[in-house]
């Protein structure tokens, strides 16, 4: 069954790409695992050293390639492993989020969360919520690269 | 300086002298107080329960009637209810929509809500007032009694330091009186307990008056008709030298050399606190 067909059917499952800071949220995700919490498999995590490493182009690329939602998770402001990364990240990604919404994306499709390494429960919860929100919105077709789709189908 | 003025029920009755003296003083100070048309009750008590929206109807109607102009009252209870209702309207959208929809008025928390004392302190300035004092209250030992409603909750009322207020003392100083500070000046007088539990009010009043007397006060000022009533009527017979209770505006008018008399709570003139 092709991806395109999949998307209209009731059992369509969204793809959520989560960029997680190595020091807090990624570890929070580990804790969710060690605590055997559960969240939807729709979420796939990419490890980054810090949310200050998050280039908005990574987010746009994900949407081009077929992501339905993107989450960036970093340390709580004030707790950055590199002391200022998330402060910078907060400004950069806030500006980007506003622009992203201005371009016509639904605000829910891109979110930033602060999740510490001790917040396994919050990690699971945020992944659950994000997935549910994206599910309710339906598949993202904005900026989706049609050619990439055909690659997807052939694989 | 132009303000809309909300009198409230008591100022047209027993506390007429507060209104008369304040209006006279305001006129002399160039403070224009324009009484709201067809005003109604201030609401009497601010509803502390979220679903008691009915009690908000009259204060919000009043606030809306001021149409964004600064709204002044003299009675501390009226001021309290209006100020808190305004804060709720600013803070709680849901309540605002319900109340304004029901009243069919437009109001979203705008306009300054002031007590006349604040007008004197902040807008006119006590310095300016000094120039208007013709008959300073020299040698008169007067203590301020604040009560509750002007001060608390301080986050909303933002009237003065809730535990160590100074506005009335500063006024008294301006009027030339000898200011006496009594530690119980911010304690409750018993409020409407005098209606149902006179004994309780007698205790609280006794403490306030004793403490003022001990500090050397010969008279008290207040901004609340109910406080004045309690201070005058609920104190126990103890054979000591009585203490006079005035509205702040009465001493204000007196010091400015304006005609006017203190009206006791029962209407008799120059009535004193203890018989």
């Amino acid at each position: 069954m092709s991806a395109a067909l999949n998307e209209t059917s009731a059992d369509w499952e969204p793809l959520v790409v989560a960029f997680c800071c190595n020091w807090c949220s990624y570890a929070g995700g580990d804790l969710a695992g060690t605590s055997r919490m559960s969240y939807p498999a729709n979420v796939k995590v990419i490890r980054v050293p810090c949310c200050g490493r998050m280039n908005p182009m990574f987010v746009l690329r994900a949407f081009q390639r077929g992501a339905d939602g993107v989450l960036v998770a970093g340390c709580h402001p004030g707790d950055c492993h590199y002391s200022t990364g998330n402060y910078h990240g907060r400004r950069r990604l806030s500006a980007f989020k506003r622009l992203f919404e201005f371009a016509g994306f639904e605000p829910e499709r891109f979110e930033v969360r602060w999740i510490s390494s001790s917040e396994g429960d919050k990690f699971a919860e945020e992944m659950e919520t994000m997935t549910a929100k994206i599910k309710a919105l339906g598949p993202n077709r904005k900026m989706r690269d049609a050619r990439w789709q055909s690659v997807t189908q052939s694989k | 300086m132009r303000y809309r003025y909300f009198p409230g029920c008591t100022l047209k009755g027993q506390a007429k002298s507060m209104e008369d003296t304040a209006m006279a003083a305001a006129a002399a100070l160039g403070i224009e107080l324009i009484e709201l048309d067809e005003w109604q009750c201030c609401g009497a008590v601010y509803p502390l329960y979220e679903d008691e929206l009915i009690s908000l109807l009259s204060p919000v109607r009043t606030l809306a009637a001021a149409a964004g102009e600064p709204l002044v009252s003299l009675c501390s209870a009226c001021h309290h209810v209006l100020k808190r209702a305004q804060e709720l309207m600013q803070r709680n959208q849901d309540a605002r929509h319900k109340v304004t929809d029901f009243l069919e008025v437009e109001y979203s928390g705008e306009g300054r809500v002031l007590h006349f004392l604040e007008v004197l302190r902040d807008d006119l300035g006590f310095d300016k007032l000094t120039e208007m004092i013709k008959k300073p209250l020299e040698g008169r030992k007067v203590a301020a009694y604040y009560g509750c409603l002007l001060l608390r909750p301080s986050k909303v009322m933002q009237f003065d330091d809730p535990e160590n207020p100074t506005i009335m003392e500063d006024l008294l100083k301006t009027l030339g009186a000898e200011v006496v500070k009594s530690p119980y000046r911010t304690e409750c007088c018993g409020a409407y307990l005098s209606v149902t539990e006179e004994g309780v009010a007698s205790d609280t009043v006794a403490r306030i008056i004793d403490s003022a007397r001990q500090a050397g006060a010969e008279a008290l000022i207040t901004a609340c008709p109910l406080c004045r009533y309690n201070l005058e009527n609920c104190s126990r017979e103890d054979g000591k030298e009585p203490i006079k209770v005035y509205y702040f505006s009465e001493l204000l008018a007196e010091a400015m050399g304006l005609p006017g008399e203190s009206t006791g709570a029962d209407g008799s003139k120059e009535e004193v606190a203890q018989r």
Binding site: - | Y192, N233, D266
Partner: protein, 132 residues
Amino acid sequence: MIIATGKSSLIDEMKVQSGQNPAECYQCAKCSAACPVTAAMDLLPHQVIRYLQLGLEEDLLKSKTPWICASCFTCAARCPRDLDLARMMEGIRLSMLRRREGNKFGPADLTPEQLEKLPQQALVSGFRKYNK
């Protein structure tokens, strides 16, 4: 004494309508120390919160204390837990008025002397407080 463990509708309602959660109180009793009218109370203010915490609804409904409370807000002004006990007291009073469907106090309860002497403000606010 058996502590009520079941749900108390009064307390649940009180929590929602007053926005106050009695569980946040750690019983330092500063409210009682600050209250100017404890002399006439059968329960001290902090005990009222304790009763709320324990779900002792019936005992609360019998208490005189909520009716003694003069809403002077001194307790709320000084509470280290940022709780507004004046709101909780109001909640209990209102629930009692609403449940018992009767008024606590009306014009008939006033003496002619009181009617004549009391300031209008006292009558209006008194009726507001004691009537449904």
